[in-house]
């Protein structure tokens, strides 16, 4: 038997033992245990080291609000840091490690930071790292020097670097009523709504439904509350209208009653079932939301309140009742309200000795005195804890007389021997989702808590969430909320009867005991009461500034424990009541959400891929693929032992020497059809298409409305009223939307339809001196000679029995033809062309060789049409029609767009015969130590086999005027400096004699 496990009780399965490790040491627990309860049962008191001072820390809570006991769960190479041990369900083989300690949890070198407490106060970084005005560490350099060491010492768990192999899913769900939280209020709401026939989703962030019913020890309908909860869940399970989501945290409340939730599907399993994702992201659209999210018990702020062994009272009660674990053998309680008395009785019943109840209130009710004697505890009314003792575990505490009205301490200190100190500073409703949904929370002076605001969206509150802390109220409000949410009439039928310990829900307005020593407000970020007061003295008045300066409430727990005590201390310092200080607005997410779940199917094996019809052929023939957006395209068809550069140089050289073929199926293709199709194209393109003859193609340029270049491509006139437009691969979607917008919104009178046919056609471009001969040997049904198929002409024929459309156009600068066939026949046509090319030494080439040949020709692509360049910048002004208006024509001549110092397209040749790199800058004078005065930048670069040189395209001020001059490339990032010559962008065959043949 574990040292702290009770003989009986708890919802754990004592017959089933689970084995796991924590910091490398083996431990056992039972099914139903969390990592926190199992370690506590094994006598572990030290769970982590604090953020700044590296103070030893134990469990504060038993739930999602845990600030101290954060662990990293390891699964193979994958690390999941910063998970509260209270939320980790143990399974066989679980490996968890503690965080922020070096070298070990028990012996932590960073603990010396505690000695420097005065220096490490609020604003420490801002103050300490303002470097001197001059010298080697001036300005922020001192900070840069120290940062590495500080980052190492401060902080939480380390994120892993291994790729996450887990699968995540996104699910859309719809319901009439979403109930968040499954305590008595949530269960009643779900039951009432389901009984009305409403479609209900019940989400519970913990593994088990029931909330406080699981540990309150109260009686509902004559049975133990936990049994009542289980029975109610059973009734809900049998209802087809109800979806039960355990382990599901509703973390965001968005517009239109859309809520985001994270379901931890398999995190608690040793092995996931086939097809199960690790986590599931739910987007839930709810008619009405019932918020039954309960409340958090608040810590009290007093010296040493962070020592391991100091815990929230209800958490200890929960460990004892729900998990059969006692946090200590000699327990003292420290409270400002009645709820701790019930906890005392529960712990006594579970077998602990309750040595004292220290109550800040001088006046304690008769009922509470009765509960104190039932717990056999000494009641110390009008007292407060002023110190705690012990190192890695609590050994005792000191108390003094306390006046709750003035906050004054008096009399002698008295020591109490205890190994566990439980505190209760009142309760704060968990209003996060309501706050996210809209209005500001309202301070209730009686409850000493922020209560949920008036709803601005369709939600109804119930139970402790509304400040109704008794189970009887929770049940009544839950039922009313469920009925109302489902559109049912209010019921006068009797609600289940609750038997519970008495208690006044209103605490004394005491948040802090001011005595010597560090009193923690925010445990996770090590913010003390003195830090809050220091921030006030230094002039921080707004609660938002206070938060940022002290980092109060900015840790992973988002101030679930610290918010209200921090505000109370600030309010006192300001001499204002709490509501005047105000509270910060809660924002999503309520708890940490894995990035993987947000990415869901957009990442990994569920991400869509676009493959060309010839994809498998490329793979089978040694292509190295390159991902371009969702497309995969061959980069090179490398031979064994070839580098990328060797491969593309060989491919480009062979194409210019004889012939090459490339897959161009990814080009955007849009069918533009209708009586006004030609008129439409005249408006869309800068040049004229209405004059284009049927059976001919033309190169076209589009501008945006603001006059800058948008996209280019060829458009083929297939009939009087029918065009096939091609776009760049990257802009296919954008161009389609552009056309649709104008047809639908601006020119609805034009009788034109546009249809994306990108995926309908397979395209192969074959170019080189022998391209025509290859085509002639395999095409039937048409001639391919100059008369039948002149430059920019279109012919229809067959290859291997497949109808094909051939257009003679060239991107490579060689005589070239684009051969289009139905996508399903793409590979057949491709293979026929390859076969026909064999006698001519036809090579397949990839994107690298394609790019090389286009750079040699000086053609532009997306690298140059980058959203900042005009047609003139790219020397495409010959395409700007003066006879008609077109999109962008009115704006393209604005002053700034025709200024003489604009960046213009030029060619560059590296004079040192070394590779250039994209993004490198062009300068007149080389200054490697202090690069400045950029004339422009490189957009594309390659080794040119045609020129035998390293060349590049660039956008450079002055452009043409600099042709023939020398300058330098300056690329400090890659340490590439050197002389270059600026030349025309048309490096190769500038008069086009090769492609015109």
């Amino acid at each position: 038997m574990s040292p702290r496990r009770t003989e009986t009780g708890g919802r754990i399965d004592r017959l089933r033992t689970i084995r796991f490790t924590f910091d490398g040491a083996p431990y056992t627990g039972h099914i139903g245990d969390t990592l926190a309860s199992a370690l506590l049962a094994n006598g572990v008191t030290l769970f982590g080291r604090s953020f700044k001072y590296h103070r030893p820390r134990g469990l504060l809570s038993a739930g999602v609000e845990e600030p101290n006991a954060l662990v990293t769960v390891l699964s193979g190479e994958v690390r999941e840091p910063n998970i509260p041990a209270t939320m980790v369900e143990i399974y066989d083989g679980l490996v968890a490690v503690s965080q922020n300690r070096n070298p070990s949890l028990a012996w932590d070198i960073g603990a010396v930071n505690q000695l420097g407490g005065k220096i490490l106060s609020a604003g420490f970084y801002y103050k300490t790292f303002m470097g001197p005005v001059f010298g080697p560490l001036k300005g922020t350099r001192f900070w840069m020097f120290c940062e590495h060491f500080i980052r190492r010492a401060a902080g939480l768990g380390k994120a892993g670097t291994a790729p996450d192999p887990a699968r995540y899913e996104r699910m859309n769900a719809f319901c009439d009523v979403l109930v968040v939280g499954s305590g008595p209020a949530g269960l009643m709401a779900a039951k009432a709504a389901a009984d009305q026939g409403a479609r209900v989703i019940l989400a519970e962030l913990e593994a088990h439904f029931g909330g406080s019913a699981n540990w309150s020890g109260e009686t509902i309908d004559g049975m133990l509350a936990a049994d009542w909860a289980q029975r109610t869940v059973g009734q809900l399970e049998g209802n087809d209208n109800v979806r039960l989501l355990p382990r599901t945290t509703v973390w965001g409340y968005y517009d239109g009653n859309t809520l985001a939730a994270l379901e931890r599907v398999t995190d608690h399993k040793e092995v996931a079932a086939k097809g199960e994702p690790r986590q599931r992201y739910w987007a839930i659209r709810a008619g009405t939301v019932v918020l039954a999210t309960g409340s958090f018990e608040r810590p009290l702020v007093f010296p040493g309140n962070d020592r391991p062994g100091v815990m929230l009272a209800h958490a200890a009660e929960r460990y004892a009742v729900e998990y059969g674990v006692l946090p200590g053998q000699r327990i003292a309680l420290f409270t400002n309200n009645d709820s701790a008395y019930r906890s005392a009785v529960a712990l006594k019943k579970a077998g602990a000795a309750v040595v004292a109840i220290i109550d800040v209130r001088g006046d304690v009710s008769t009922e509470m005195r009765r509960l104190a004697s039932e717990a056999e505890a000494e009641l110390l009314a009008g007292h407060a804890v002023v110190a705690t003792e012990g190192g890695k575990a609590l050994t005792g505490l000191k108390i003094q007389r306390f006046d709750a009205m003035s906050g004054a301490l008096s009399g002698d200190e008295r020591s109490i021997h205890a190994d566990s100190l439980l505190m209760s500073g009142g309760w704060s409703p968990t209003i996060h989702l309501a706050s996210q949904a809209g209005a500001k929370a309202e301070w209730d002076p009686a409850r000493q808590a922020f209560l949920p605001p008036t709803p601005t969206q369709r939600w109804i509150g119930a139970g402790a969430f509304t400040g109704s802390f008794s189970t009887a109220e929770a049940i009544a409000e839950g039922r009313a909320a469920g009925l109302q949410a489902a559109g049912g009439a209010a019921s006068s039928a009797p609600v289940p009867v609750v038997e519970a310990a008495p208690g006044d829900p209103d605490p004394a307005p005491v948040f802090e005991i001011k005595a010597k020593g560090k009193s923690f407000v925010d445990f996770q970020h090590d913010v003390t009461a003195d830090d809050v007061r220091l921030a006030h003295r230094e002039g921080f008045v707004s609660v938002e500034h206070l938060k940022r300066y002290t980092t109060l409430g900015m840790a992973t727990d988002q101030g679930k424990n610290s918010n209200v005590p921090g505000l109370a201390i600030m309010a006192e310092a300001l001499g204002k009541p709490i509501p005047e200080v105000g509270t910060t607005r809660f924002r999503p997410p309520y708890t940490a959400v894995s990035i993987g779940s947000l990415a869901a199917e957009r990442f990994g094996d569920l991400k869509p891929e676009r493959l060309t019809p010839m994809h498998d052929w490329h793979i089978a023939n040694g292509a190295r693929m390159y991902s371009a957006g969702l497309w995969y395209r061959p980069m090179i068809y490398g031979l064994p032992g070839e580098t990328v550069e060797q491969a593309y140089v060989r491919e480009a050289r062979a194409t210019r020497g004889s012939a090459g073929i490339v897959d161009v199926s990814t080009l955007g293709k849009i069918a533009v059809q209708g009586p006004d199709a030609a008129e439409f194209l005249d408006r869309v393109y800068t040049n004229t298409f209405s004059t284009l003859a049927v059976g001919k193609a033309r190169y076209g340029l589009m501008l945006r409305e603001d006059g800058l270049a948008f996209d280019d491509g060829t458009t083929w006139r297939l009939g009087e009223q029918e065009f096939l437009m091609t776009t760049t691969t990257a802009n296919a979607g954008k161009v389609m939307q552009h056309l649709e917008y104008f047809l639908d919104v601006i020119w609805p009178e034009l009788r034109v339809t546009v249809t994306s046919v990108t995926d309908e056609w397979a395209g192969a471009a074959i170019g080189g001196p022998n391209a025509r001969a290859i085509l002639a040997s395999c095409v039937t049904g048409t001639a391919v000679d100059n008369a039948t198929l002149p430059f920019m002409g279109i012919a229809h024929g067959q290859i291997a029995g497949v109808p094909v459309m051939i257009c003679r156009l060239s991107f490579s600068g060689e005589m070239a033809f684009e051969v289009y066939s139905g996508a399903g026949y793409g590979t057949r046509v491709w293979e026929a062309l390859i076969e026909a090319g064999k006698p001519f030494g036809l090579v397949t080439y990839g994107l690298e060789a394609l790019g090389t040949m286009r750079i040699e020709k000086g053609h532009v692509t997306g690298a140059e049409i980058d959203g900042r360049t005009t047609a003139r910048d790219l020397h495409l002004d010959w395409m700007l029609s003066k006879k008609k208006p077109f999109i962008g024509s009115a704006m393209m001549d604005r002053e700034g767009l025709i200024a003489p110092d604009r960046l213009e397209l030029v060619g560059l040749i590296a004079l040192d015969n070394r590779p250039l790199s994209g993004g490198g800058h062009i300068v007149e004078q080389l200054d490697e130590a202090n690069p400045h005065h950029s004339l422009g930048h490189i957009t594309a670069c390659c080794y040119s086999p045609a020129l035998g040189k390293y060349i590049a395209l660039a956008l450079v001020k002055g452009g043409k005027a600099r042709h023939g001059t020398r300058a330098f490339v300056s690329d400090p990032l890659r340490n590439r400096f050197g002389p270059i010559e600026i030349v025309s962008n048309h490096f190769y065959d500038p008069d086009g004699s090769r492609m015109h043949g």
């Binding site: 968005y254 239109g256 639908d744």
Partner: protein, 92 residues
């Protein structure tokens, strides 16, 4: 946020592409009034309240919609085909 497409019904906002302020008026294509063009290309209303916007149902029927949306609450007050009086053929 849900937008009710007159053709497809209520759909999640992720199916739609925002196409800007619906109050802009495009000058006649041949207009040389640079101020009018400038206003059309660059000026946008940014009211805190009801706003007339163009959205494309890009993940659905691809029609453009005129949507009145409250920019504070994100409530959608009305949706209609942007084609104005014209009802798109085959869609009624």
């Amino acid at each position: 946020m849900l937008i009710t497409c007159p053709y497809c019904g209520p759909r999640d906002v992720i199916e739609f592409t925002y196409q800007g302020d619906g109050n802009r008026e495009r000058p006649q294509p041949a207009s040389q009034d640079l101020d009018a063009w400038n206003a059309y290309v660059y000026d946008r209303l940014n009211p805190a309240g009801d706003h007339n916007e163009i959205w494309q149902h890009s993940g659905g029927c691809r029609a453009h919609l005129r949507v009145v949306r409250n920019t504070i609450t994100h409530e959608i007050l009305s949706t209609a085909f942007a084609r104005g009086g014209h009802k798109a053929e085959g869609r009624s």
